[in-house]
């Protein structure tokens, strides 16, 4: 039997999930020194990843990508094209790994299911998951009922993962209990009729939380409430994912694991566009929480343009020369 995530929370907080008690726990977290955090992230960014390590990293990056399209202009055609890209990222080399998941709006989930066909499934088995953003993404400004219905719709349509946004209004005005309850309620809405459950990624929208202390607090709040993943951003707010923010969230995940034994995933999303940047994230994961986190169930890149840069690097490693943007396919 899988342990319910609230059991982990119980071991830390007890059974009292009142706002007062949550605040006492979260305010007891150690502070974050911004200068020191950024210096450590910069230091991790100086690792020199060459030859065989680089080749391994490039394939790993592809297999950890949530290939994303989140536009008002998304159409069934666009989603089919994205799925084709995810299934066969580089037609010139069929040994190229598939991406981990497609990430789309809830109403596009059905099209994604159709497009993936038999390749729809668990990324651990080499298949591709479908992640849907929900809960009035990206702003989260809607009633609780709408947010939960949004989630249930996406799950019913076949989403394997739900990327929800936290209520930043509640968080920034100090109503932590409200944020906590909402994550729990969305988690409940991820449960399918057969009793299984879609994985829940909790988007903190770190660009709006603004301070590192807030990011650490929100990370713990999301884990206490049962999030399977904590995710930096929607990609709609600048700054989106940064290396220091991701490092900080990885530290939270590491400490959570040390205290509860549970492994929570991390997804930086938005703004990671080059292989060079993505490799820095792999280094940061490995040296902070350990290499075992470099698996689709524990680490993802939320990205769209990253994939083609990685493919160009991959072609360069195998052929010894750079090609160009016309030698990789758009979507």
């Amino acid at each position: 039997m899988t342990i319910l995530s609230t059991d982990h929370a119980h071991s830390l907080v007890g059974t009292d999930f009142s706002e007062k008690n949550l605040k006492a726990v979260l305010n007891g977290l150690p502070g974050v020194d911004a200068v020191g955090l950024e210096a450590r992230a910069a230091d991790l960014g100086t690792r020199s990843i060459k030859t065989s390590s680089k080749a391994w990293a490039i394939d790993k990056i592809i297999s950890l990508i949530d290939l994303t399209t989140l536009e008002g202009a998304d159409t069934p055609g666009k989603v089919h094209s994205l799925a084709a890209k995810g299934m066969l990222p580089d037609p010139s080399d069929t040994a190229t790994p598939r991406v981990a998941a497609l990430c789309v709006y809830g109403d596009m989930v059905g099209h994604a299911v159709d497009a993936l066909g038999t390749l729809h499934g668990d990324p651990d088995a080499g298949l591709i998951s479908i992640a849907a953003v929900a809960t009035a993404f990206p702003s989260g400004r809607s009633s609780r009922a709408i947010k939960l219905a949004d989630t249930r719709d996406a799950v019913a349509a076949g989403a394997d993962e739900i990327d929800m946004v936290i209520d930043r209004s509640a968080f920034l005005s100090g109503r932590l209990g409200l944020v906590f309850e909402e994550i729990q309620a969305v988690k409940q809405s991820c449960v399918r009729t057969d009793g299984t459950s879609a994985h829940l990624k909790v988007i903190l929208e770190t660009g709006e939380l603004n301070t590192y202390d807030n990011v650490r607090m929100a990370s713990w709040l999301a884990m206490l409430a049962g999030g399977d993943f904590i995710k930096t951003s929607t990609g709609k707010v600048a700054p989106a994912a940064t290396l220091p923010v991701t490092l900080l969230m990885l530290e939270a995940v590491r400490d959570w694991h040390a205290q509860t034994g549970q492994k929570v995933g991390v997804k930086p999303a938005g703004g990671i566009r080059t292989s060079k940047d993505a490799i820095k994230y792999l280094v940061t994961v490995s040296e902070t929480v350990g290499e075992e986190w470099l698996t689709p169930h524990l680490f993802r890149f939320g990205a769209s343009s990253l994939l083609n840069d990685v493919l160009l690097q991959r072609q360069k490693l195998s052929t010894g020369h750079y090609s160009g943007p016309d030698y990789v396919t758009i979507d």
Partner: protein, 480 residues
């Protein structure tokens, strides 16, 4: 495969163009020494790098004569703006040759290339840029109009930051209008000789900078030379004491930057992950061979176990090995002698009851290496809590209250550096106010800037280097 076993990423030594034999740099020329020669080896491989001349009394005298002549006939007559031009030129040449200097320094000293590349060499350039700016502004150094230079300065530097210590010494001396005779340490003379080439490239007038290589006897000849106006020494307290004794009553000015046993104080409200990083950079930067290293960790008793656990986990990710590899965190110990000293002190620490823990690193067969080491259960009376080890060894003590932290931090014959880790600004200021140390870092450690004065209390020496204070140390009427 394991991703964390990063594939080798060595910096190439191909761009080095070294000579087999180096003499001294006197009067703008490379000249043969009149005495014996000695070899410099790479501490990570024990391979021979080049042969250097052991400076004799005669060599030192030639250098001092050249420096005096340059002072009297050229350097003291140049305008400050013109002196500044040469210094700016040197600074830019250091930047242009940065990669070559970083490789040479790593080869000769044993420290990781990421440190020479990101700290030693850029800071050396920064020192020249900073003091170049002062050269034509001496009227504003706080000593009235037209402050006068001292004349010829004799400068003796250590092996832990060879080129950076050279910059700390030469840049302010030249900006203030002095000429210099400098002796690099006998285990690390290489980058000083590359610097001599830079002086030639910069067309620096002959004799303004003279470099004499050698060991203790050469240093003594500089200290005892009658025509030197100022001695600046960075090194061990024992040698510094001897120099002070020799110079007593001679009228020569003296600044001493000696040993340290820096306290790094971690309060229970510290930003814990950043504190762990700071503790590591405090004691494992340059393998702990840093006079201002945070070698005594004072941690509040209620967070002791957590801090030690986190430290051990983090130390497990440090990579010890080939210093030229860009991913190496911990390089080689500079010399066999130093390794033996570290080993002996660590043995003493164990004998006195300290609990030793060393990171599990594979130690290369050749070269001089020491794994990052912690001592817990250390008492203030233990040798490892009192003596400067000058190696990658951290002694961990506990305290209960701020008052006790301050008392323990100050309870040392040294007083060079200290660190404070706390999220509470008022506490940082209150504690810093009561620490007797020349430099105090708050929520960081081992950060250097040319505008900031650096120096010690008590047995850590006297005088300041860096900033306006470091400039005035080379001017008449200055602090030292």
């Amino acid at each position: 495969m394991s991703f964390l076993e990063y594939a080798p990423a060595p910096e190439s030594t191909g761009l080095l163009n070294l000579r087999e034999n180096y003499g001294h740099f006197i009067g703008g020329e490379f000249v043969d020494g009149s005495g014996e020669s000695f070899a410099s080896i790479s501490p990570s491989t024990e391979k021979h790098i080049a042969t250097f001349a052991a400076g004799t009394d005669e060599d030192v005298n030639r250098a001092v004569v050249a420096a005096r002549k340059a002072y009297d006939s050229v350097w003291s007559k140049l305008s400050g703006a013109d002196r500044g031009k040469y210094l700016f030129r040197i600074a830019r040449l250091i930047q242009e040759r940065a990669r070559e200097l970083a490789v040479a320094e790593t080869l000769d000293n044993g420290k990781p290339i990421k440190e020479t590349r990101d700290a030693d060499i850029p800071l050396a350039a920064a020192w020249f840029f900073y003091y170049a700016g002062w050269a034509d502004k001496l009227d504003y150094a706080g000593m009235g109009a037209n402050p006068r230079a001292l004349g010829v300065a004799g400068q003796i530097i250590p092996w832990n930051f060879p080129l950076l210590m050279l910059a700390w010494k030469i840049a302010p001396a030249l900006a203030a209008g002095n000429t210099v005779v400098l002796k690099p340490a006998e285990t690390t003379p290489l980058t000083a000789m590359l610097f001599a080439e830079i002086c030639q490239q910069a067309d620096l007038p002959a004799g303004v900078v003279n470099i004499v290589t050698g060991a203790g006897a050469t240093g003594r000849a500089i200290v005892e030379h009658p025509d030197i106006n100022k001695i600046a020494f960075t090194g061990s307290t024992a040698v510094g004491r001897g120099i002070a004794r020799t110079l007593a009553g001679t009228g020569k000015k003296l600044t001493l930057e000696l040993g340290g046993k820096g306290a790094n104080i971690v309060f229970d409200d510290a930003p814990i992950d950043q504190a762990v990083e700071g503790i590591i950079s405090g004691i494992f930067f340059n393998q702990g061979q840093v006079c201002c290293a945070g070698s005594r960790l004072l941690v509040q008793e209620n967070v002791h176990d957590e801090v030690v656990d986190r430290l051990k986990t983090r130390l497990g990710t440090l990579r010890l090995g080939d210093p030229l590899d860009k991913n190496t965190d911990i390089g080689a110990i500079n010399s066999k002698v130093q390794l033996e000293r570290i080993t002996a002190l660590v043995a003493k620490g164990e004998a006195e009851g300290g609990e030793r823990w060393s990171a599990a690193c594979e130690i290369p067969e050749k070269g001089f290496w020491f794994a990052p080491t912690l001592f817990t259960g250390v008492q203030t009376s233990n040798t490892v809590a009192r003596d400067e080890i000058f190696g990658p060894v951290l002694s961990i003590l506990t305290f209960r209250t701020p008052a006790e932290a301050i008392a323990k931090a100050n309870n040392t014959p040294y007083g060079l550096s200290a660190g404070i880790w706390s999220d509470k600004g008022s506490r940082i200021l209150a504690v810093a106010d009561k620490l007797r140390a020349g430099v105090i870092w708050a929520n960081t450690f081992n950060k250097f800037d040319p505008a900031s004065p650096f120096g010690g209390y008590k047995e850590s020496g006297y005088g300041r280097e860096g900033g306006i204070q470091g400039l005035s140390a080379y001017l008449e009427g200055g602090v030292r």
